[in-house]
Amino acid sequence: MSDFNHSNHLDDARVAARVVGTSSLTSSTEAMPTSGEISRFLARREADQDGLELPLTLSDAAEYTDLAEGEVASLAAIGAIPALVAGEGSSKKWMFYLSELKLWLDDEKENGGAPCKVQ
């Protein structure tokens, strides 16, 4: 499993790098962050500081669980991974909570890696 940390996962780190002007994670040709990206980054940082957990995206969950995005989505769709789906139609998005993914992975280890149905 990758060493995943919600507070500095890749998307936020990229935005942060662009906000503060460091270039280790971003190329010089990359566009400046939008005001939406900046406010989202600041909101997430504030939530982290307040100890509040914000939902992760599908790609974050895939990175954390070391699974392909499609596999995570399939497992979520059959209820094997705790998730919620927000929105409808083409803007439908899977969301995950890190604490729930941690519990799920712990259960996975205990059950020998077999997918566990979340009650």
Binding site: R40, A43, R44, A47, D50, L52, E53, L54, P55, A76, A77, I78, G79, A80, P82, A83, L84, V85, A86, G87, E88, G89, S90, S91, K92, K93, M95, E100, L103, K117, V118, Q119
Partner: protein
């Protein structure tokens, strides 16, 4: 003294659409904290919102504070619920087949202080409805040319009615968007 009850579960799949976001915004941003207030101010029937409230409880996004004095259970957003709303409310601006859900999503955007998003969303939904109304109109025209036996007449009337309905909905959404846009414009008459 109030005690807060929270029923956090681990549901397999929870769908959060216009109604769930609408309830979060009404409770957290418009201070409608009782079923009575939700019914009176937002026209939401307790029976109709029960499944959505259940989903919000299960996720730990809302809680009930029991007031012993008045035997009333006030609804409140948990810190987790508020963080979720603030972080993901734009997901409520999805494509919905019914205008009611669209208007709920618009209300969420307005309660989140983003009238510009609300206007653009209404405009987008209006265009979407107009396009699908045109498609249905073409289908109705095609079906209208078919010989009129009872079943083909039935199919034609349904498609024709659907085309008209979507056209009318598009008009309503466009008018609402225009009206909201005008409200956002600074009053030019007052400018020097």
């Amino acid at each position: 003294m109030n005690t807060v009850k929270n029923e956090i579960g681990h549901p397999a799949e929870l769908s959060f659409g216009a109604m769930e976001y609408f309830l979060l915004a009404l409770i957290g941003k418009a201070s409608l904290t009782s079923l009575y207030a939700l019914q009176q101010r937002a026209g939401l029937q307790p029976g109709g919102i029960r499944p959505a409230l259940k989903r919000l409880y299960a996720r730990g996004f809302i809680a009930r504070a029991e007031s012993s004095a008045r035997q009333r259970r006030d609804l409140s957003l948990t810190a987790r619920g508020l963080a979720f709303l603030n972080d993901t409310w734009k997901q409520s601006l999805s494509e919905y087949p019914d205008n009611e859900s669209v208007f709920r999503a618009v209300c969420v955007a307005l309660l989140m202080g983003n009238a510009e998003y609300a206007t653009l969303y209404l405009e987008g939904m209006s265009v979407g409805r107009r396009n699908s109304a045109q498609e249905k109109s073409m289908e109705a025209e095609r079906l209208g040319k078919i010989q009129r036996d009872p079943l083909s007449t039935y199919a034609w009337t349904r498609v024709l009615s659907e085309a008209r309905r979507r056209g009318a909905e598009s008009e309503a959404l466009s008018t609402a968007s225009q009206s909201l846009k005008e409200q956002l414009q600074p009053d030019v008459g007052l400018q020097p």
